[in-house]
């Protein structure tokens, strides 16, 4: 009996060792550095440069509104907030280096925002925005509440900054938030332009600590958790079973969530294809790497499958209401079908692409306790 089992084990071991090795080009031979250079110089640094311009403008607009609190200045501030929030969608995925150290994304874009904590901070005054527990009372979602959510209409909102007692505290909190977004962004951009870019580009080997492996992981993590789940899946109730319309991005501005989603999807597509920031120029990226390896899935070209799937998601999302909260409440099935299209690319990228590129996933779903 024992011998028989040993035999089975032996056969099994031998069988599992005779894995059919892949034929054709090896990932080792590809010029990975060309991709890193394109990402850093034509996507990441230009996107952060542009974003930092919008955060500076956002802070200036907030200061102007604080000094002269008129409806007109509120409108300008709202426009600045929208421009910056759209620009942010192009940098959110780059949570590495200084951004990772700062926990940049957690400081800028945790939603739903904690409105009672915001009100406590404003009322009490002595808040420390560096505390992790205050991540959900700052950043773009907190500004969304402060600019759109403080009243039923503009005159009610304006009253919080003008006539109400504590109006000065509201104005201070507003500019403290815009200041912090701008400061953190400056820190991240300066890190890229004063050394980190070279470190990133020269770390061009393969292995779990190489720039390409880490960036690809960050990219897929962003796509899976923040684009697919955060913007669509969570409000649609994919994970909770119950739709949560108040969990959409930019909930209080009512009508901006779709624009943010589309921008983020564009940024994801551009990154995959190496498209230069705000220029229709095609550079080296994951698509070229997959093409070089002749990566096929079920007889089809993987690059095309992924790009086609991006377009499927884009097309499906076109039907959605500009305000995702309204979409969730009125016809959630459209949200779910958009989610399904996004999910298909999680499989193509996280399974098929990573396998082809010989990259291991470096994150797991949290333990939850």
């Amino acid at each position: 009996m024992k011998k028989f089992v040993v035999l089975i084990v032996t056969v099994f071991i031998v069988w599992s060792c005779t894995d059919n090795g892949p034929s054709g080009p090896s990932p080792d031979d590809f010029d990975r550095e060309a991709i890193l250079v394109n990402w850093a110089d034509n996507i990441i640094i230009p996107a952060f440069t542009h974003f930092s311009e919008t955060t500076a403008q956002l802070h200036t607009s907030a200061q102007n509104f604080s000094a002269e609190h008129t409806q007109q200045n509120l409108d300008v501030l709202r426009d600045s907030w929208k421009s910056a929030y759209l620009a942010y969608q192009h940098v959110s995925m780059f949570e590495m280096g200084e951004a990772m150290q700062l926990r940049y994304r957690d400081n800028l874009n945790i939603y739903p925002t904690d409105t009672s904590e915001i009100e406590d901070n404003i009322a009490e005054g002595n808040y420390n925005l560096e505390l992790p527990s205050l991540n959900n009372s700052q950043g773009f979602p907190a500004l969304d509440y402060l600019l759109y959510g403080l009243g039923e209409n503009d005159s009610e909102i304006m009253a919080n900054y003008t006539s109400n007692s504590g109006a000065e505290n509201y104005r201070t909190y507003l500019t403290d938030l815009t200041q912090r977004i701008d400061d953190l962004t400056t820190q991240v951009l300066e890190s890229w332009t004063s050394g980190y870019r070279d470190e990133f580009v020269s770390n061009s080997g393969n292995g779990s600590n190489s720039s390409l492996d880490m960036m690809v992981n960050d990219y897929i993590y962003y796509y899976e958790k923040h684009l697919r789940a955060g913007k669509i899946g969570i409000p649609a109730g994919v994970f909770s079973g119950t739709p949560l319309s108040s969990h959409v991005e930019a909930y209080y501005s009512q009508g901006f969530s779709k624009a943010l989603f589309n921008q983020a999807l564009t940024a994801s597509i551009n990154f995959f294809n190496g498209t230069h920031f705000e220029a229709e120029v095609d550079g080296q990226s994951l698509d070229d790497y997959l093409d070089y390896l002749n990566t096929m899935k079920d007889g089809a070209d993987l690059t095309s499958l992924i790009n086609n799937q991006f377009q499927e998601a884009r097309t499906e999302a076109e039907n959605l209401n500009a305000d995702f909260a309204a979409q969730v409440e009125n016809d959630n099935s459209q949200m779910l079908s958009t989610y399904d299209e996004l999910q298909r690319n999680v499989v193509y990228m996280k399974v098929d692409m990573l396998q082809a590129l010989n990259i291991n996933v470096d994150y797991v779903d949290a333990d939850g306790d």
Partner: protein
Amino acid sequence: MRLTKILLLPLLTLALISCDNGNDDNTEIDAPATYEFTRNGESTVSFTGQTTRIQMASELISAMMDFDNSTEELLLEMYRNETASGGDANPFENPALNEATKNIKGKVAASTYYFSSNTQLSAEIKNQFEAWISAQIDEVFPNENTLAESGQPGQIADGSSTRYVNAKGFEYNQLVGKSLIGALMADQMLNNYLSTTVLDAGTNREDNNNGTLAEGSNYTNMEHKWDEAYGYLFGTATDLANPMPTLGQDDDFLNKYLGRVDGDDDFAGIAQETFDAFKLGRAAIEAGAYDVRDEQAQIIRENISIVIAVRAVYYLESGKNGLEESSPDYGAVFHDLSEAYGFLYSLQFTRVPGSDSPYLSTEEINGMLAQLEAGNGLWDIEPSVLGEMSETIAAQFEFTIEQAAN
């Protein structure tokens, strides 16, 4: 995959051996599909005291994080279910718990087998929990809105969660919660209720043989003792008689972590095996087959000990891997290692089947805990030290570090 195959070998051998034993036994015992036992049409199963204590422990652990409402007095009352002067206390939200005469503290490090003649150690352990509870209020609560750093209690980010740690990076709520798994649940189960000294105490065997019931009850004393062991694992299950469908979701203590370990392919089946042993052991008591009963107790002892050890290694390895990152997420590492601390602490209450002792002694455990706490504690800990601890633990069991860590 290959490992699973290799594991089959000892398992098969074991199966053959246990078949031999079965042949020697004249009694055929049929365990029911669920944990339901009756006499004269009425259930004979009862473990309300265990359910109560699990619920009390759950409230205590949440209250340790309630910065706005909790006081040292309240938390200690939850631990003792009485006031500092020994009067009746009502510290719980659930009114049934306030009515109960049970408490957590009395059953911490209180098993007959390990502690009836070791009351000094029992008192030390009971007081250790009070020290952690008090320190949460004294050290962490005043620093709720301070950023933690080495030597400074306060808050630290773990991904998008916020953790609250002491000056050495430990979360007291994790120390209390995970240590209770050993000091309360496992100790009572393995070293008290499943011990022959408890099951066969006094005239229990004779009473059980004759069907003599405990006063005012529908069960024999022996049946009840066995049920009480069951209650520390399944006492808050959605369906108390059929707890497997919600395994892992019914508490934050043993049930949760039996579920976690069972969910690891390397240990799949351990939960069903444990549940089956409880059922068969209980059926054996009804049949008066005490050898079969005691065999089941050994299975349970081994499996519950494995659960605690696997989670200790799991969290040690998570912490180690986190520290080895190029820029460690200290909040995540501290959270893992705070859980590891509690599971390490719990290991001293495990029980090697067929023996008188735990897999690791209190002295060995204290040595490892001292390493974690040395200097500035988790702010200073070296990954290699964590790896050595994993090896020390795994060496006492038949699993590998890799099996536990994934």
